[in-house]
């Protein structure tokens, strides 16, 4: 049985996998990191998005065995060890950017990558286009886009808090 060694949220793991084991299966079933969700399982909905070496990817369409040596970050790895939320998580809470919450881990992980790769700042239209790989079936995106717009200002140091009152 193949073995894969990878770092997840700063901790190294060596795990026995099958060739066909998906990264999301390794995360959820072997490491019990169930914050990463499986929605469509066809690489369309984005509920399974995690970061590999700083890039957002769909973990339902990535073989675990191909992640040898990879540095993986999941939704569980975003907050600080003392529980302080990442600005993107804080903004999703502040702007009520979730309803049922199923798509939220993927939305947050995609959004963090999107904002990090665009230090010049994103317009509302660009945020919407940047979320093309994530589907939400209940909030209707509007508050998600508002949350990402607020979080990007904090991530880029333009303001200190995501609080709506600061607008």
């Amino acid at each position: 049985m193949p073995q894969v060694t990878l770092t997840v949220n700063g901790k190294q793991h060596t795990v026995d996998v099958e060739g066909r084991t998906l990264l999301v299966e390794l995360l959820r079933e072997k490491l019990r990191l169930t914050g990463t969700h499986v929605g469509c399982d066809t690489s369309q909905c984005g509920a399974c998005v995690v970061h590999i070496d700083g890039n957002s990817v769909k973990s339902c369409t990535t073989l675990a065995v191909m992640c040898q040596g990879a540095n993986v970050t999941t939704i569980e790895g975003l907050a600080k060890p003392d529980g302080t939320l990442h600005p993107m998580q804080e903004a999703f809470r502040e702007y009520h950017a979730l309803q049922c919450g199923f798509c939220t881990p993927g939305m947050v992980m995609s959004a963090v990558d999107l904002v990090a790769k665009n230090p010049q700042g994103l317009s509302e239209k660009e945020i919407r286009e940047g979320l093309e790989g994530n589907l939400c079936r209940c909030t209707g995106y509007h508050n998600i886009v508002k949350a990402i717009a607020a979080a990007q200002d904090v991530m880029h140091g333009k303001r200190s808090t995501v609080a709506a009152a600061a607008e």
Partner: protein, 264 residues
């Protein structure tokens, strides 16, 4: 997904040996087409040969009047490459509009071109620019490469190593995406090259093809007016729940005009 054995060679020669030794082996790079197919059990390879560790298949470089892109280059790398944006902006634009951010972070040019999905983006640029495919065995002109739906001139133990794009005088790409799947309903890649005008149509038919009537018209008069009266024949085009062949034929004309406008 059925299970398979997994191999990760570090050279093209070793990868070819693995593929030649097992007729039911498949090569994988980004996996964003192959893995969904395996999940549907449309394919049952006994082993997967992971190409991602092969250094000689990576990177983007300019050589003379051509851009050579290694097969393992991900869509995001082509989209963001200063070399590509400077020499063939239409190619960078095309790469920046494949799938979504997460797909572009994994999918590779070699995978897209060798799979030859009728609704893929890259085949239109390969054919529209008159590119040359470098494989583990030979060099194949784009005109001889795409043979039909999901079919190319490559053999089972042959690996796409790089794509060589001649730099055109100007080029443009436009596509109509299916609003749900985002796959191409019809697209056009138009280029004015040293060897003449080329118009490649993707999405509309079972395989990317050249629109020769438009090429002839644009060679004499590079303007939207020159192709305004050219009707794409609907015969042989794709017809499915997303659109009839007649609709796609109409889209070909619209996308060609948009691609021409983008080329400038």
């Amino acid at each position: 997904m059925y299970d398979f054995s997994y191999h990760k060679p570090s050279s093209v020669a070793d990868a070819v040996k693995l593929l030649a030794a097992d007729p039911d082996a498949k090569a994988i790079s980004g996996g964003h087409t192959l893995l969904p197919a395996l999940k549907h059990r449309l394919n049952k390879p006994t082993s997967l040969v992971d190409l991602s560790g092969i250094a000689e298949m990576k990177g983007i470089k300019r050589e003379g009047n051509a851009i050579i892109i290694g097969a393992l280059t991900r869509h995001v790398e082509v989209a963001n490459s200063d070399v590509v944006k400077g020499a063939i902006p239409a190619l960078a634009y095309l790469a920046s509009h494949i799938g979504d951010n997460q797909v572009r972070n994994r999918g590779t040019i070699g995978g897209s071109v060798s799979n030859n999905d009728p609704a893929a983006d890259y085949p239109s640029a390969v054919l529209g620019l008159g590119a040359t495919i470098h494989t583990s065995k030979r060099k194949i002109a784009a005109d001889d490469f795409f043979l039909g739906m999901f079919t190319t001139a490559m053999e089972a133990d042959e690996i796409l190593v790089a794509v060589e794009f001649p730099i055109p005088e100007k080029a443009g790409y436009a596509k109509m995406k299916n609003p749900a799947s985002r796959y191409v309903m019809a697209g056009a890649f138009i280029a004015k090259t040293a060897s003449g005008v080329r118009v490649a149509i993707n999405g509309a038919g079972p395989c990317v093809f050249r629109q020769t009537a438009m090429e002839a018209a644009l060679a004499g008069n590079w303007s939207a007016a020159a192709i305004a009266g050219i009707k794409q024949d609907a015969d042989g085009l794709n017809s499915d729940i997303h659109g009839s062949a007649e609709y796609r034929a109409h889209l070909v004309g619209v996308m060609a005009k948009r691609a021409l406008a983008a080329a400038g």
